[in-house]
Symmetry: C2
């Protein structure tokens, strides 16, 4: 008996959950979930085998299941919803804020998403579709569609009465502002709720509102939004359909913009590391993870073959001076690292808005200078090592000069490639790495082997 208890205590939470699910009792499972913090729930969902994950979501009420969907990373939430029938998925999405539901539905294939929309109540489906029509990184995609709005003719005491009556409903709103609209729902002013404290109760809203407030259109992009919050110390900004038709459609808070920027920084890091098509978690089934990784690796084999074909052209040189084969991978790797640094700095400066995609000359000058300095240093070090190790100054010359020249090529190219890709409306994080290494490998191999061919009798 005691042993059994000890065993249970040593179990990981996901194993306990797995056992509880065998029992199939709603209350036991629900109270276990309620006890643990969301990050632990996410860990459990990352460990449970697929059928158990679905069993868990089905045993819980839609409201409880919604909390789980909010706790797990978005990529997993999407997969969980896709794997259940559309009625169940709709009942869970019904419990989530519309903007989160819209985000998730946007990531699901259109056919499957349509089935879920059809299972949602009509007005909710319409609201969610409206949000989902915006790009998920635009103001319309990030805004919330729950906000307080009043007419300019209402008085402070009417507004306070409304707040008092609906205080339960507004509990979930994290509001500091209310918005004032006209009969056409056009945005006319902003009301600081704090100011209501100090105002005379008979005052009309239109007299105390901040008139012609700043707003952003639903199509505003991430950089525009981040720039806006950098320039203004507001916590939120009203979002309108467009400047010409300023119908109030939502409210965007700075927090959502920061989260989206964080997501972007993260996705840059994943893409530069060859994880493409969104986040990969180890809870995703093997065949999907494998295929997604291969979709980056397979084109890379071909690019590598193109680069290596340069070596094949110089087989005779290599045969005559086999020691060069030791230095080829070194020059390839070092140039890749030097260029990778320049790629990272360019991507970073583009994101910060410190560099425009057209400023080629600026990047060439700045990276050219660093390429010359670092090229000379690295070339001298590698040449020095080659001279001492192999006792051949000509070999030292070949590898030193090649690394020096190729470092210059790599950093200038590495600095430029993200600008060119951005100008071509391609994603610099995705393609910069493979393009860079292919070109610098070709150039590096060519430098070593052609200089060596010219000096062959000395090697």
């Amino acid at each position: 008996m005691t042993e059994a208890v000890e065993d249970t205590e040593n179990l990981e939470p996901w194993q306990k959950m797995s056992d509880l699910l065998e029992g199939g009792d709603h209350d036991t499972v629900a109270s276990f979930v309620a006890e643990i913090p969301p990050v632990e729930v996410a860990r459990i969902m990352a460990r449970l085998p697929e059928p158990k994950r679905q069993a868990l979501l089905h045993i819980l009420t839609p409201d409880e299941a919604g909390d789980i969907i909010e706790a797990v990373p978005e990529s997993q939430a999407k997969d969980l919803l896709r794997e259940m029938d559309s009625g169940k998925a709709a009942s869970i999405l019904h419990e989530l804020p519309d903007e989160l539901a819209a985000d998730l539905l946007n990531e699901i294939e259109p056919g499957e998403a349509d089935a879920i929309y059809e299972s949602l109540p009509d007005d909710e489906a319409e609201r969610t579709r409206a949000l989902a029509s915006y790009d998920s990184d635009s103001a319309g995609g990030l805004m919330s569609n729950t906000y307080l709005s009043f007419r300019g003719s209402q008085t402070v005491s009417e507004v306070i009465e409304n707040l008092r009556e609906n205080s339960e409903l507004y509990q979930d709103y994290t509001v500091q502002y209310a918005y004032v609209v006209d009969a056409k729902d056009h945005l006319r002013g902003v009301l600081r709720l704090r100011d209501l404290l100090l105002a005379n109760r008979a005052t009309q809203v239109s007299e105390m509102m901040i008139p012609s407030p700043t707003s952003l259109p639903g199509t505003a992009g991430l950089e525009e939004m981040a720039g806006f919050f950098d320039d203004h110390s507001f916590l939120g900004v009203p979002i309108v359909e467009s400047e010409e038709n300023p119908v109030l459609i939502g409210v965007l808070d700075e927090k959502s913009v920061r989260s989206a920027s964080e997501k972007q920084a993260r996705s840059t890091f994943l893409k530069l590391s060859g994880i493409i098509g969104g986040e990969e978690l180890r809870s995703v089934p093997l065949h999907i993870r494998s295929l997604r990784r291969l979709s980056f690796l397979a084109p890379n084999i071909l690019l590598n073959l193109i680069a290596a074909s340069v070596i094949a052209q110089f087989q005779e040189t290599l045969q005559a001076a086999i020691i060069l084969a030791v230095f080829l991978p070194i020059i390839s790797d070092m140039s890749g690292c030097s260029g990778g640094q320049a790629v990272a700095v360019s991507i970073r400066e583009l994101t910060l808005g410190l560099l425009r995609p057209t400023e080629f000359l600026h990047v060439i000058m700045k990276e050219g200078a660093i390429g010359i300095v670092n090229g000379i240093v690295l070339g001298t070090v590698l040449g020095g090592i080659a001279a001492v190790w192999q006792g051949n100054p000509w070999l030292a010359l070949v590898v030193g000069v090649s690394l020096a020249a190729n470092t210059l090529v790599s950093v200038v190219l590495g600095g430029m490639i993200p600008l060119v890709l951005r100008k071509m409306k391609l994603d610099p994080a995705l393609a910069s790495g493979p393009i860079l290494t292919t070109v610098t490998d070709m150039c590096g191999f060519f430098l070593v082997l052609s200089i060596a061919s010219a000096l062959l009798e000395k090697l």
Copy 2:
């Protein structure tokens, strides 16, 4: 005359600024700065030559210069402050929020920072030093030390009176909550300002406050804070000295935590790309950028030489089958890419809290499976290409089997290295890449060349 005007209009903003600075007139310069948005100010500061940057900060009032320091990235702000005399730096820091001043002073060398502290008013120096004593990614480092606090015995009408009297001072506070403390400054409750609207004016604060509020200690780390805001839908949380001594020391808002997470994601991406020691902007002087990049590259040359020394051991094999030299860099690069994907997934799961640094077995199983599948696919592709291109099935066997086996090694190692580094309290983003490529290169070269040695007469 007309030509001169056109010329001026074609100038970049930083060139215009440069011209204005030649004039040396405060009002012209200040009104130019006031007209442009902060992101453009940051771009100008990134382009102006060093002496002009200092000239700009000196011509402006400390308040105006403070706005510029807030507009530029933190790494540049730090450099700008270091380069001016400590009195001027102190006068500018005086205009910034204490937490930003503390962050900047924390990044400056202790000797230089001390000189600036001495030029600050005593009470401000003390407050800033208290903030700076916390790690910049801890709750104490991210919190604000400006907040509203009241005693439990005060009434609603006293609180409202205080808000009214100090409304100008509180303008800068983005507050929704006030805090209730006892005579020892221990945190006792939280007051929602919104609730004041609805409360009877004679009520005592202690009756309407939320008692025993949640708080975090000043030493809480980024993951703990992010977890807290994931678990609670609060906009802010009070920070206390410690659980045992709950003296209220500041208020932390979710926004600051999100910004810090964004900064962390960004720094992961930069470090993985070989940009170490913080952000690099192209406005930093050449010798500093060059040295910092070399501090990553130079150790890499040595690691590369260790890996390449494996090739040197097999020169005879290589001489006998020179075509292998074409495939060595391919296997090196492909294994690096496969391993890099696994590194990124592990770093990501560690950051999300979905993976503990001790879960070696979990990672080995998950990456092992993907390594076997992707190894077989990639090995077959490369082997197939080798067979068709060189018409030698034995060569195809050597390179195919080597890439397959080395892919398995790379993904398992790539998945494990971040866990091992994290367990050793080292930064996974910094060291994972170089360690991974060195080991997988050695292993890959050894596989190709030793299998080839065994099959030499067939090649």
